[in-house]
Amino acid sequence: MKKVIMGNHAVSYGVQLARAQVIAAYPITPQTQIVEMLSEMCADGLLNAKFIKVESEHSAMAACVGASSAGARAFTATSSHGLALMHEMLHWAAGARLPIVMANVNRALGPGWSIWTEQTDSLAQRDTGWLQFYCENNQEVLDTVIQAFKIAEQVLLPVMLVLDAFVLSHTEEPVDLPDQGLVDEYLPPYEAQYKLDPSDPHAFGPMVSPDHYMEMRYKIQKAMEEAVEAARRADEEFSEVFGRNYGLVEPYRLEDAAVVLVTSATITGTAREVIDQLREEGERVGLLKVRMFRPFPFRDVREALAGAKKVAVIDRNISFGHGGIFAEEIKSALYNSPAKPPLFGFVIGLGGRDVTPASIRGIAEYTFEHDAPETEMIWREVKK
């Protein structure tokens, strides 16, 4: 069934279809509609889940940890400062190997106080052991929620799906709501292998000495590595059941591209238009959309960029003292590759500043005109 819905509500429907069992949440602009609709679904008996109103995002994640430890399918949503507040618990969820799913609406961190879109909030959590998926449109958002539970429950790591503030969260697009029966086929109920159970008691999250801690961490990294193929398979199976999928990365018109733009999230949608225009003008330019950011899809990225003569990464985020984070990660992925094209890192659109087709065209033209980047990162459209 098709509905015209905002990105936030696409998350809500996804969570409903995935039959989440516990939702613990705290409101924050611009995610609140996600949990608001979910609370209404619970109240109206349209979703058989326990909705827990908590007093902070830290508690939201703590409650999800508790619920997931008891074997329940748990979900929460947040953004920006809320995500920052639950930082400690993000580490916990991954360390405890809990398949919690969370939607993060990318919003800039203050001060200066901002409600508009920027990717730094989620990317700053890239070390926590959570999988991360960046969504381009509302259909992808809904679909990724469902895929997220499947992947999480298979590899026993928490999964974060990310959508841009307002550009997606509050923008209405036509979305196909899949049939519940098909979702149930694709995503069976969660059966925890280990959980809090008085009939089979275990203590979870105990102290682990230096004698064993490293092996626990090694297991997490192994799970992350398995997650690459698990995510790929989940995406392919999704296509078999629902007729659409997205890949871990998506190459767009890369076949003979000399210059490759690398984007994520909604900038990708705009960039597609610009690529088409430039192609019409005869430029050999292509686009690589990075959808899965954690685990980092090394093989897919290296393969996609193997033929590129120049790479231009567009970051709507910044790691101060280093550079745009997608640029950092791709540079490091290419370091040991035989093909190491010059990589331009562009920083643009922070704090929700609009990234227009003209902005992207400007980035492409800069890349055409320079043999190599002159600075570690190139800030675009800063008023100077």
Binding site: A96, R97, Q193, Y194, A203, G205, V208, E215, M216, Y218
Partner: protein, 426 residues
């Protein structure tokens, strides 16, 4: 008890940090430097009751609807509850900690309820066997003498109760009927005398009752009452003049009197003359009927020891109270600040009953308002709170701390609503 689990490789280990064996192997009790102990303490009502009732225990039973057991516990300490419930000035209620959170428990009304319960259900006390050697004479059948007679007969002695008036009861008979209905008084006196004792009325010491008549007994208790009582008794038999009975005793038995004209005894009610005891208002001066009951009880317990040839030790000072069936209780009195008020709501006592006696439901509800100061009532709070699961319930009797695991955190003592747990240094 358990073997240590070892892991060779990463593959051996569980996928996430979790215990595989039992955590019992970690005896966290070794961390402790203070330990919790279940120590019942004295409730202020118990402390104040001149009759030495175990009020908190009685009320605890009533709160569970166990009225007959409550009545029996009451009768173990006070044979005149219907009287006391009506005419004692109930100091217990003045001391009740509940007064800080809605109002003192209506202890006197609960006492009236229990007395009525026993009477209306015709619960009878077992008739004791006179199995002990020893005949005791009690002179004066007021509240003190009757109380002493009750306890002595229950202990197995043969008692002869002498009374100057035509009927036993002493000053209790003078209370107006609207304060103390005659049938209540009659019933309670009968309940005592029916246990089996010789009651000889119309016997005035110094008139038709001579000291010689008392010398055949193995112990004598003088419970002649207050001057007013004695005056009434004397006038009742047509005599006048100064205190005939006391003069009689001073000259005949060397009874010592203080400057107020009160008989002098030690804590075991001994007058100084071998086998002669004195109790009640003739020793303590004018006071509430409950105190006379308590004094009679003390003296009965002293006479019991005397007749067994056991030293007369361990009696509290004359202004303290005594139990016939003492519970193991720390003498520390619980005050309101010791109560964990987080466990209680502000609740007011019920309105005074129209008929004068609570119905069963109201009595139970009122009993439930009691904090049970210092007295464990199996509320399970410690059991629920112990973070080490080191407290377990022992059937219906109480709790046990497993000191192998108790870390001495003190949460149980802190949370105990009624201050029944003490923390002590290891």
């Amino acid at each position: 008890m358990t073997e240590e689990i070892t892991f060779e490789t990463e593959a051996d280990m569980p996928p996430l940090p979790m215990s595989l064996g039992t955590t019992l192997v970690n005896k966290t009790g070794s961390w402790r430097y203070i330990r919790p102990l279940y120590v019942d303490k004295t409730s202020p009502c118990n402390h104040a009751c001149p009759a030495g009732e175990d009020i908190v225990e009685q009320i605890g039973l009533m709160a569970e609807g166990r009225f007959e057991e409550a009545w029996r516990r009451l009768m173990e300490e006070n044979p005149l509850p219907g009287v006391c419930g009506r005419i004692c000035p109930h100091v217990c209620e003045r001391e009740c900690n509940r007064k800080e959170m809605g109002g003192a428990i209506a202890i006197h009304l609960l006492e009236q309820f229990l007395a009525h319960y026993g009477a209306s259900h015709e619960i009878s006390l077992p008739k004791p066997e006179a199995r002990r050697q020893g005949r005791v004479a009690i002179v004066g059948a007021g509240a003190c003498g009757l109380s002493a007679a009750y306890f002595l007969v229950r202990l197995g002695y043969r008692v002869t109760l002498f009374e100057a008036q035509d009927e036993p009861g002493g000053r209790m008979c003078l209370v107006r009927g609207n304060r103390l209905p005659k049938e209540v008084l009659k019933h309670e006196i009968a309940q005592i005398t029916a246990l089996g004792m010789e009651v000889r009325t119309g016997m005035l010491l110094g008139a038709n009752l001579a000291l010689k008549d008392l010398e055949g007994f193995d112990a004598v208790l003088l419970a002649l009452g207050h001057t007013r009582s004695r005056k009434t008794a004397i006038e009742a038999v047509g005599l006048t003049g100064p205190d005939v009975e006391l003069e009689f005793l001073k000259s005949g038995w060397g009874l010592k009197l203080d400057e107020k004209g009160l008989a002098v005894t030690d804590e075991a009610a001994c007058t100084g003359r071998e086998g002669v005891f004195a109790a009640g208002e003739m020793v303590l001066g004018a006071g509430p009927v409950s105190r006379a009951v308590g004094s009679g009880k003390r003296t009965a317990l002293a006479i019991d020891k005397y007749l067994k040839g056991v030293p007369l030790e361990g009696f509290p000072p004359l202004d303290g109270n005594i139990q016939a069936k003492p519970r193991k209780v720390d003498p520390t009195v619980v005050h309101f600040k010791d109560i964990n008020t987080a466990y209680f709501e502000w609740l007011e006592p019920p309105p005074k009953p129209e008929t004068g006696i609570f119905g069963e439901e109201t009595a139970k509800m009122e009993a439930e308002r009691c904090f049970s100061c210092g007295t464990c009532n199996l509320c399970d709070t410690c059991f629920i709170f112990c973070p080490d699961v080191a407290i377990s319930r022992v059937d219906h009797r109480g709790y046990e701390v497993n000191y192998d695991y108790c870390k001495g955190c003190g949460v149980c003592a802190e949370e105990c609503p009624r201050h029944a747990i003490s923390m002590e240094r290891e």
